[in-house]
Symmetry: C2
Subunit: 344 residues, 2 copies
DNA sequence: AGTTAGCACTCACCATATAAGAGTGCTAAC
DNA sequence: GTTAGCACTCTTATATGGTGAGTGCTAACT
């Protein structure tokens, strides 16, 4: 079984997969011989295809009808047969222009990234924005709002800002808050928000324990730093995907859309695939049974060496891997730049 | 033609519409007689239906097959025949719980509102969040970020907060910004952001003209107040809608989804229907040809007497008007409360 | 030995035909 | 004014046969 597949078999396999990716129809020997210049007759191709099927690279739906690549086939294709298909210069220009035209706020960066990926690949895109509670605390500022409330402005090292309105405990003055801010900023800068919430906050207990309202002060800091555990997930291309023949059936569409709404599920998938660099998971390779006939390509983006988040393309196994992979690679580095340009 | 329709005709019309809303199938005289207790035979119902068709309340697809309500029919139904169907107490509790569980930030209020509406009505929901540049300016605060930049925090009367990072012009100090803030807050509070951008900013020119960098100061204020012209649009239920038999055809789904992505188009529709109170627009009554077989129910929400935004249900003309209308009415008042509770 | 032509066979797909079911409209009787 | 009865229309589901693309196998060819 460990029979190596010779060069001609590889050519045939590549042709089959290329054609199937293009047409979404099971591909037969005759078509293959006509469309691709393999230099042999359909009969020979038939034999080769039979061998490839025996080895598990191709599949047969019914006795008649052509062959379809298996997960193993796609895997071999992705690992060795794909011609690299770099993002063209025109596309790069287009993408740049897109970013510049639409992006005003930080969350629009992610939304727009998702949009671009789905536009180019015609598949669903997933963008996982940085997890705020893993971000490093930079400073916390208070602003007076009226006699009863203050605005808290939280800032992290990566340049994300979040604000809240908080009621002052009775008796407290704005000056009390200012003093607190000083202590906090002096002691806690550089820690992750998570650490601060769970441990570091205790460290400054002593510093402010002589404050008249220090219990409620702690509570307030706690609330100000609570960004919610959820990093945000941005989706794109849920409409594009309907162009794929895989979604000619409404049931399939509904099923997929409902799955995409399960934010937690999707996030778990992204976490699981969050390695370094580009990762391709094909069909059967997916743990989750809902994705047994989907492929997911993920890439992680970084800032200053720190892992920020993940971008991904989700589509049917029949997917333009070459294009999606190089696009993700490009967007990956691009995203870092845009975030940097945006905030620093 | 101004023939008034008597009580029995109304009963028949109501039965036809009720049944069509329930089943989505053209309804025939026989079914009607069996299901609804009209006290007359199918033949009589046939005659009545023929009359109703002549008067324009019902339509015939083909010579055979039952009747379907026309826009005029729905209109009559909505205006006079619907039994009010108030939101049940259980539903109210459910909605309250929903809000409390998920809403942490202001934008989540709108997202969640859209979600709730679509969940309950099984149709697409639209929520137009307040237009920021129509909001009244409350105050602008500056926070030091580092030597080169400040964070601007803009706050409006309705309690919305937005922040930006702005580079300081060379030579400016943070104290310069503080002075500017004082002037701005003293002079411009209460104006809409829009007015300030276009006119009122000129008024404070004199006040700060002795500042060393007043040209760039104006520019900075301008940028700080620029919230983008777009109020945000939140959608919900694009998956729910697939349950409706109207969307058994993928083409129809695609078309609708693409339309919903045209944010500007949708907003224009919402503006057009933005009256006071509840407004129902049925099928043909819609200006836009894309909506000729859809109905839109809109309701506006307010805060302190000021119009804030719109919530709406969009669905096929065959829609549970009673339910959707009372839900919108409830959400409408509810939304005001939630926003208030949230920010004030 | 590897390659190819030929042929029987299998499906999926499309169009047509047929039967069943639901509904209408009309007429005549109640 | 209401209803029963009947002929007619139109949609939907089902069966049938033909077509085309594809396979697998055998035998002939280089």
């Amino acid at each position: 079984m460990a029979e190596p597949i010779d060069e001609r078999k590889q050519r045939v396999l590549k042709a089959v997969i290329d054609d199937y990716i293009e047409t979404a129809e099971p591909v037969g020997s005759r078509t293959l011989a006509r469309k691709y210049d393999l230099g042999v007759s359909p009969a020979t191709i038939r034999n080769e295809m039979a061998d490839l099927e025996m080895l598990g690279y191709l599949e047969h739906l019914h006795t008649s009808s052509g062959r379809v690549p298996s997960s193993k086939g796609y895997r071999f294709y992705v690992d060795g047969l794909i011609p690299p298909k770099p993002v063209s210069d025109e596309e790069k220009v287009l993408i740049d222009r897109w970013y510049n035209a639409r992006v005003k706020r930080i969350d629009e960066v992610f939304q727009e990234t998702a949009h671009i990926i789905s536009q180019v690949t015609k598949n669903v895109s997933l963008v996982l924005a940085p997890q705020l509670n893993q971000a490093k605390f930079r400073c916390l500022q208070f602003l007076p709002l009226d006699d009863y409330r203050v605005i808290t402005v939280l800032m992290t090292d990566a340049g994300f800002i979040e604000n809240k309105i908080i009621e002052m405990p009775s008796g407290a003055t704005f000056e009390d808050f200012q003093r607190m801010a000083k202590v906090i900023n002096a002691n806690l800068a550089g820690h992750t928000l998570d650490t601060i919430q769970h441990h570091a906050l205790a460290e400054i207990r002593d510093e402010i324990s002589d404050e008249p309202l220090y219990e409620s002060a702690l509570e307030i800091i706690h609330r100000a730093l609570d960004t919610g555990k959820k990093e945000r997930l941005y989706l794109g291309g849920t409409t594009q995907m309907l162009d794929q023949p895989e979604f000619h059936d409404v049931e399939k569409v509904k099923e997929t859309l409902m799955m995409l709404e399960e934010e937690e599920l999707i996030k778990d998938i992204l976490y699981a695939h969050m390695g370094d660099g580009l990762e391709v998971t094909i069909g059967q390779e997916n743990e989750d049974k809902h994705f047994k006939d989907s492929s997911i390509i993920t890439a992680t983006y970084h800032l200053d060496g720190e892992l920020l988040g993940t971008i991904a393309v989700l589509g049917p196994t029949r997917m333009e891997y070459a294009k999606a992979m190089s696009l993700l690679e490009y967007m990956n580095s691009n995203l870092t730049n845009v975030i940097k340009r945006f905030h620093w």
